[in-house]
Symmetry: C2
Subunit: 323 residues, 2 copies
């Protein structure tokens, strides 16, 4: 088992980070990131620096910091660690998790620049991916649920564990007697993500299929490829059918648009609204359906849109612009 | 709430069953099918006959039969009921649920013919749909997970409750004081479907999102439309690129095929294998990937396929035929 895990890791790493690059490894001290660090150290061929942020959010965090610093020392690696008061830095519109994430990402980006690292590796696993997909699916993200977590990007971020299950990583560590820290906040049911991780997915694995996470991730990948290809087709079609004028005023060829297959028609509606300056986050399926209905409506019919924009049926066109 | 449920039902019914048709309603006596029967009776405009099968699998089933017969009588409807010994009729390769399903479907089909019903309505709800999608996703059905349950077909079957949540139907019944029978086997954790219904989906609703089932079904519908459109594009492409010869020997234009976008390339591979007589249930993603890899392989390279078929690289073609 250990060898298969290590092989999978090296295949992923080769695709993500070229030999000779400098890599910053984000290590909290938990099982995932400790496995990441050992696997990176064993893979060699890249300069490796360890980064650890103490979020100052709970007792025991100083112990995590000492653990990571000492692990880096034993592996002969440089380690940059810092303590930040995330609670104090939290902005009004942020949840505690959002604040922790923002501060952590800023710390890692700054540290990468300071040590000359081209890449930052994090310990996201296949289970994180399955959790993300399932969470978005049941919350109504629709097709965008499948976007999930990318193995690379944006920018310097890479996630070489994304195809590996957490349980395989734990076994890999145990087999070699490699210790890690338990983060008690991972066990708290205060966070949705933890409830999914601690209750929902284990129940699905136990009751329905032990490989549920892997199956979910695989299905999401296939469906995402379908969606991306259709997005590209719709982009070409929108390019042909939309004329963008001054003030982001969009004129859409109604006849050609209403003849497109419905999976493209809906995507083109979304793109036309975006080009006309409607905030993408505020475009719901009811706006898309209403814009499509406008094609069959009498000339002069009007539709009110978010952000004080509106759409009008004028001759053979749908015009979208300021209300 | 009651009125919205009834309105949703009537809209679905109009699309599924024309006025004047004769409809057989499959009624177990449980909440879903009792709601179906009342909603159908109130909608009128169709001749309605009730069918009930006593599977003879558990105590209390005779009481269900009397309940359904008496309900049909009070509604002034004909009722065809029968008792079958499903345990005795079970075939070797069937689970008890599969046997019950087969015997029940045969009984309903025969009864529909006998009473001259063009359609058979069953009580499948939006929750059944969500359960089906989630069950298939976590079991590795991949993109086909999203096929789900169809509102109409095959043949005479229609499912007018498929867009309505079970909890809305229960409220609709309660508000009118309409009784139904509790099926104790619905509470048994012996069946995967029940574990999903009784444990997994309630946990997801409670922990993550109360409208999880509706969101899952909506995402599945959008993704299914994407997949069907790509299936159609791939069908056209396969038509152009495959030449089928004697003995289901298929010649595939390797150059044109390898230039197709990957979401179409994979689908065309599947279609080519099916046309060459490979059993669709035995075509896995590794066969699809291996066939694609054959495009880049040296001439004469060979690939062994299920059912003693094989594929060979010959000049500009991939030939699939008997091994």
């Amino acid at each position: 088992m250990g060898d298969r895990t290590e092989l999978e890791f090296r295949q992923a790493l080769v695709e993500l980070v070229p030999a000779g690059a400098t890599l910053l490894a984000a290590v909290s001290g938990g099982g995932d990131s400790v496995a990441l660090l050992h696997l990176l150290a064993r893979a060699g061929r890249r300069r490796l620096v360890v980064a650890h942020l103490d979020h100052g959010l709970r007792r025991g965090s100083a112990g995590d910091r000492r653990f990571v610093e000492s692990l880096a020392g034993r592996l002969g690696l440089d380690c940059v660690s810092a303590r930040r008061d995330v609670a104090a830095e939290r902005r009004k519109d942020e949840s505690p998790e959002e604040a922790a994430r923002r501060v952590r990402r800023a710390f890692l980006s700054e540290t990468a620049s300071a040590v000359g690292a081209e890449h930052i590796a994090t310990g996201h696993t296949l289970d994180d991916q399955a959790e993300t997909v399932l969470m978005r699916l049941v919350r109504g993200a629709g097709a965008t649920a499948l976007t999930g977590i990318a193995a690379a990007g944006p920018g310097p971020w890479v996630r070489p564990l994304l195809g590996i299950e957490r349980s395989d990583l734990r076994r890999w560590l145990e087999k070699r007697g490699l210790p890690f820290r338990e983060d008690p906040s991972n066990r708290s049911a205060r966070y949705d993500r933890n409830r999914l991780r601690l209750r929902v997915l284990p129940l699905i694995s136990r009751e329905l299929n032990p490989r549920a996470s892997r199956h979910l991730v695989r299905a999401a990948r296939a469906l995402r490829e379908d969606a991306l290809y259709l997005d590209a087709l719709a982009g070409e079609l929108a390019e042909r059918l939309c004329r963008v004028g001054p003030g982001a005023r969009v004129a859409l060829d109604a006849a050609a648009w209403s003849e497109a297959p419905s999976v493209l028609r809906r995507r083109v509606a979304r793109l036309a609204l975006e080009r006309a300056g409607v905030d993408p986050r505020r475009i719901g399926s009811r706006h898309v359906e209403a814009l499509i209905a406008l094609c069959g409506a009498p000339g002069g019919s009007e539709l009110h849109l978010p952000g004080r924009r509106s759409a009008r049926r004028l001759g053979g066109r749908i015009e979208i612009g300021g209300a």
